[in-house]
Symmetry: C2
Subunit: 393 residues, 2 copies
């Protein structure tokens, strides 16, 4: 079966809705003019409820990794003790950035596939005089979502002065977040994830405590200096020429999300996640992540013994479904299915159906139709039928 | 007169040709797949002749300022002596970045409106044991283009071990450059300038000497680490998720430039620059830059005494021509006209005509039609009639 537009099931970049694509093709404007200022303002205001903050949000022209670097270098000084809580490749990266800039980083590493444990984090903080803890909200490499409120509460209890920096690149916008309510200090997300836009922007919010920390932080920074962004934002600008085409797209993505309603966005993601898990399990794929902390935005599954993954995935791709491979030490061991951004249950069912078709061809023991049915049941059980259809999208 | 698409005469972002706009609206793809690898390879290969280098070119997802930061932090160490040759706001910025990262920066500053003098740079280097010199190719704030080959020759003569880092953000692609031939070590450009794409990418090439310097450079770097980019480029990837929509656009912009031919691209820019200068002078605006070193991509002119610039420029803008104001200490004193990227002589004549119309309305003493005629004569004298029309554009 020829598929005329790929079913892009990687955990970002995600497929762009038609109006977002159109926005990416708009003509350039003066980034020091009133149209740009209005757009930047809409993005900052529109994202605030998703961050769950009253604080300012900086829009940086860089990848999510640049956003993580901004989180580190703006609030820390060389020599600061930092606890890097890592549950996978992106947690390792976050800790590595702090190390590169001279922080004294200790690590708590969960076995990959598991979430971080609040009690273990609390234990490690004891008497340690840590300036900051680095947390990954959604670990894209393993498909595990960390319990940020529980982790933040444990950190506050043990070490109330410690700053909490959160990589929510691949989660924010797809699941609820309460930056102010949970007491987290710097939160980072990326345009190509839940926001339904192309890559190129990182959005970074900082608490009052974090803004104060920036005044004494000694790590060098210029391009990613959040104070310069705050200063420029006062006149509706960014300090450096911004990635305007991606800003157009995030602006339009936020409009679509507002038309759908945040609660419905979250419910759609939950249903797609449930359908993905049920579908993959129905096909005999064992999920990688601990059942208690599976991600709402990406699912990782073991490549079964005996499956020639290169051939299998090649056929899946030829049929128009683009999956992600394993990252870091999971390369060749797991595959990943992204379900975030513009994702619908229909697309997930389509992906499961294609995996089923290829499984049949490859002689894997699957009952035809069963996985698709299981995925659909899971979506219905997750309440997708009750999620209203957006009128203004 | 209503103008249905603004005549965007700022020195970047520049107007996007239709096919570049279309490219910006394309659907996302896997940035770890073969389509992306092919596109990245095309960009690296296609830009090489414009850089005039056989070295590798890194494609960074950031503004030009991020590219300048990459140039500094990849080859220098804290404490290194650096000579910042500044002829305006962007030269000051380049030097500031080096300072922020701990270099011991000395400055040679030309009077704004003038180019750097090779003899002065040579004099300052004498006995100074400088690790690097920072040069601005085209100073966007003043409309001055530095004589890079002469400056590079002077530096080589006086201090052959000193690295030469060049900000060519707003020049490369619009004028000839010979990175290898002139012996410059790191050269930076930005997608929203000559390349006819949206902002969001900085392209950075490094000489063999610069790549070697990266092995001992001690300034901290992660997101902008060029070694990680070189490593990923071997498999047709970028280390972090790239700004795919802008990469689509640069790829298409390069295709248009190849269809036009580099020599014709350069000739078009020369003709547009000549027309702009003649047109503005015909309107009685005094050009800011020293006549010997006027920029091929941006022209700055004094705001005449007695002109209410806010009202004048408001009317110009209302008629669809978007000019840039002055930067830094020139704010309120000069205005700037960009003529780079997709610019044509027709657009320059249109801008001059609009400035003429508004001048007449404002009671400025202009002879109707004279400035437009002068601009057209300058374009013809610059050879625009002999520049062939691209067949494949």
């Amino acid at each position: 079966m020829t598929r005329f537009e790929p079913n892009l099931r990687i955990p970002g970049p995600t497929s762009l809705p038609p109006s977002v694509r159109e926005a990416g093709g708009r003509q350039m404007i003066n980034h020091r003019g009133p149209e740009f200022a209005a757009m930047l303002g809409r993005i900052q205001t529109g994202m605030r409820p998703y961050f769950g903050t009253q604080s300012e949000i900086a829009v940086l022209s860089c990848a999510g990794t640049g956003g993580l670097e901004a989180a580190v270098v703006n609030v820390l000084s060389p020599g600061d003790r930092v606890l890097g809580v890592s549950i996978g490749a992106f947690g390792d990266r976050f800790a590595k950035i702090a190390e590169v800039y001279g922080a004294a980083v200790d690590r708590v590493s969960a076995e990959w596939g598991h979430a971080a444990r609040p009690d273990e984090v609390r234990e490690r903080l004891r008497g340690g005089d840590y300036r900051a803890v680095l947390l990954t909200h959604n670990e894209t490499s393993t498909g595990v979502m960390n319990p940020i409120p529980d982790l933040a509460a444990a950190i506050h209890q043990e070490s109330p002065e410690t700053l909490i920096l959160v990589d929510s690149v691949s989660a924010l916008g797809a699941v609820p977040f309460e930056m102010d309510g949970w007491g987290t200090d710097v939160v980072v997300t990326g345009s190509q994830k839940a926001w339904m836009a192309a890559p190129g922007l990182a959005m970074v919010a900082a608490s009052e405590r974090a803004w104060a920390a920036m005044e004494i932080a000694q790590m060098p920074r210029f391009y990613l200096d959040l104070r310069r962004h705050r200063e420029s934002a006062r006149s509706g600008e960014t300090p450096w020429t911004p990635a305007i085409a991606v800003i157009y797209q995030v602006d339009e993505g936020l409009r679509l999300m507002a038309a759908e309603g945040a609660e419905n966005v979250f419910a759609r993601h939950e249903a797609c996640a449930a359908a993905t898990r049920a579908g993959l399990e129905g096909l005999g794929f064992e999920l990688f992540a601990d059942a208690a902390n599976r991600s709402t935005t990406v699912t990782a599954a073991w490549i079964p013994d005996g499956v020639d993954w290169k051939a299998f995935n090649g056929e899946v791709k030829r049929r128009g479904v683009v999956l992600a491979g394993g990252q870091g030490k999971l390369a060749g061991k797991v595959f990943r299915v992204g379900h975030l951004g513009s994702v619908t249950v229909d697309e997930i069912l389509g992906a499961i159906a294609t995996l089923e078709t290829v499984s049949v061809t490859a002689g894997r023991p699957v009952e035809v139709g069963a996985a698709v049915a299981a995925a659909q049941r899971a979506a219905i059980e997750a309440g997708i039928a009750r999620v209203p259809v957006a009128a203004g999208a």
